[in-house]
Homo-oligomer: 359 residues x 2
């Protein structure tokens, strides 16, 4: 195999991939990618993975442990990433040879990372963001893919979907959606990089639609959790999820007229919504909130139930509410509006099923 | 109130409603309708309900028991239907004054009922079918609404949605979708007849789309049950539900080009699919089938688990398969095809996540 690869390399330089981030989902992404780069001659075998360095309880560096064991012993223990995954704690060094960058960090770190990368990346580099939960500002959402494009001057696709990392890590069947802006050929190259027999990737020309699905679904998951907490049954839960999907679609299209209805039928849309509303931490904390009957706050329950992890749904609901009230759209989005009003204690949990005002 | 009503009646004859059927869902429908006919002057207060007569264990007739207690003691015990619901065991008598007929019986009885009603109904009568699970024949689906229209020469809408009857009976929030062919005004009148603060009804001009959603979702529920039986997790289940929804949409549009994508975002589409794939008997039996690892048949498990109730998903999968093979469409519908091949023992349950051939 290597002979063919080397021969090809002399003709066409192969794409080199760096994964920027090495948490749970980043490690699974590196595993998926590494299984393809060794097989497909258009990619260089080696996958570099930037690791935000940590010292493990035994005193060892996380990056060193990953390189010695081929496992992310902290964030994805027990799963071999592939010998061709090289952990690198030096961000600038990790990206310097790459022309395909996979961003998969907590969203609040993206701006700082991009700032450090300005002027440090190769020309014609392409990026993809796997980051769900970007910021929504009053004037509209500030999308992570846009932030990366603006700060680094490079094109950025997104990959979203019903992707619980630990299930993909053990190769359970799953799907994802890549959203791209213009260049379909590059989007298809990203799809080849991620696609495996157990991880199917489709490609749609709707970067904003795909990315907004990933964020707004967390608001719907809060609503679904409230329904669970009040034991309202599958009928009501399905109705709330459907109304939530309708509002996700309507808001996305109002904010970005290019957004397509068909995107919401993709993995990033209906499937991710289902996964998030069945499991997921937003659902879980909202369930506890409804059960507490207004006696405990989301902040308190988050601290108690999530062990340091953060909810996105409550803050996204607040940001969405700001957009809606700024534009006078509250009546058009009763579910989004009601979720926020319940979160801040202005309405009881039971208000989640009171939609007469919308009819 | 009655004064106003009577005054109006002298000017415009009010619509008179008969519910043809009195099972679990039929009784809930009668309750919903009866709560509106007493409030809305365009409808005559009385709701007649045709009861397929049965003798109760105590020797009493079911119809008599319903009229004495205002409860369907057999199929919806504990729920008051409204004093204005009159049970009538005589089919021809039950419909003779009506100009709005609500069909809600097991689908195999519809043809026989319609045969008895030919020439017995008032001119300009309108119908609505709440019957899910119509027959699919090789040349295409034979829809219940079409059967009613063809046999009785009357227009027929459909009402479908995420409607677990017992949850609506106790007034838990839910939604439904009415599909109509031409006459929007009449569809909206049906919506007024059913709509309550806890039961929201929307109206779409897509009778086939709405009706096909109600049937085809049962095939997807079999697939979801198989995934549950193999403990594949939420990711995989969401993916399978999404692929199922895509095939429901694609097949409906191939069979009836008038079918609209937007219908699948309604309660009859994504919401009913979610409810059915979370609970539901098709899901339950398929789960047991996958757990038995091919050792037990669907027939055997159905008899054991459903206590006389029948699965629709397995027979619908077979009928869908006949349509697909007749037209050479199997490769375009890998999920529908695979469900049937698993049901008949030709493929193992694990095949439900092997879709490489579709990509």
């Amino acid at each position: 195999m290597s002979t063919t690869c080397c021969n090809r390399e002399e003709i066409t330089p192969r794409y080199r991939v760096t994964v920027v981030g090495s948490g749970n989902w980043g490690s699974v992404a590196a595993k998926l990618i590494a299984s393809n780069t060794v097989k497909l001659p258009i990619f260089h075998d080696e996958v570099r993975m930037w690791v935000f360095e940590e010292i493990l309880p035994g005193g060892e560096k996380l990056s060193k442990a990953i390189n010695q064991t081929n496992e992310n012993v902290k964030y994805l223990p027990g799963i071999k990433l592939g010998k061709n995954v090289i952990a690198d704690p030096d961000l600038e060094n990790a990206v310097k040879e790459a022309n395909m960058l996979v961003f998969v960090t907590p969203h609040q770190f993206v701006a700082g990372i991009c700032k450090r990368l300005v002027g440090k990346i190769k020309p014609n580099t392409e990026a993809i963001s796997l980051i769900k939960g970007m910021e929504v500002k009053t004037e509209g959402p500030c999308m992570i893919s846009k932030l990366i494009t603006d700060m680094l001057g490079i094109n950025c696709c997104v990959l979203m979907g019903a992707n619980i990392a630990n299930e993909i890590a053990v190769e359970k069947f799953s799907e994802a959606t890549i959203g791209y802006r213009q260049d379909k050929e590059f989007a298809q190259r990203w799809a080849r990089l991620f696609c495996t027999p157990y991880f199917l990737v489709s490609v749609v020309q709707d970067v904003e639609g795909v990315e907004l699905c990933g964020t707004l679904k967390n608001v719907v998951a809060i609503a679904a959790g409230l329904v669970d907490g009040m034991n309202m049954g599958n009928n009501t839960k399905a109705a709330i999820m459907r109304i939530g999907l309708r509002e996700m679609r309507a808001l996305s299209k109002l904010l970005f007229p290019s957004v397509r209805d068909s995107t919401f039928f993709e993995s990033c849309g209906v499937a991710d919504l289902i996964t998030t509303c069945l499991g997921g931490r937003n659902r879980k904390v909202a369930e506890a909130f409804a059960k507490s009957d207004g006696k405990r706050s989301f902040d308190e329950l988050e601290a108690e139930l999530l062990g340091g992890q953060k909810l996105q749904g409550v803050s996204t609901a607040k940001e969405v509410y700001e957009i809606l009230s700024h534009r006078g759209w509250q009546a058009v989005f009763p579910l989004f509006t009601t979720v926020h009003e319940i979160c801040i204690g202005q309405l009881p949990s039971s208000a989640i099923v009171e939609y007469n005002r919308a009819h």
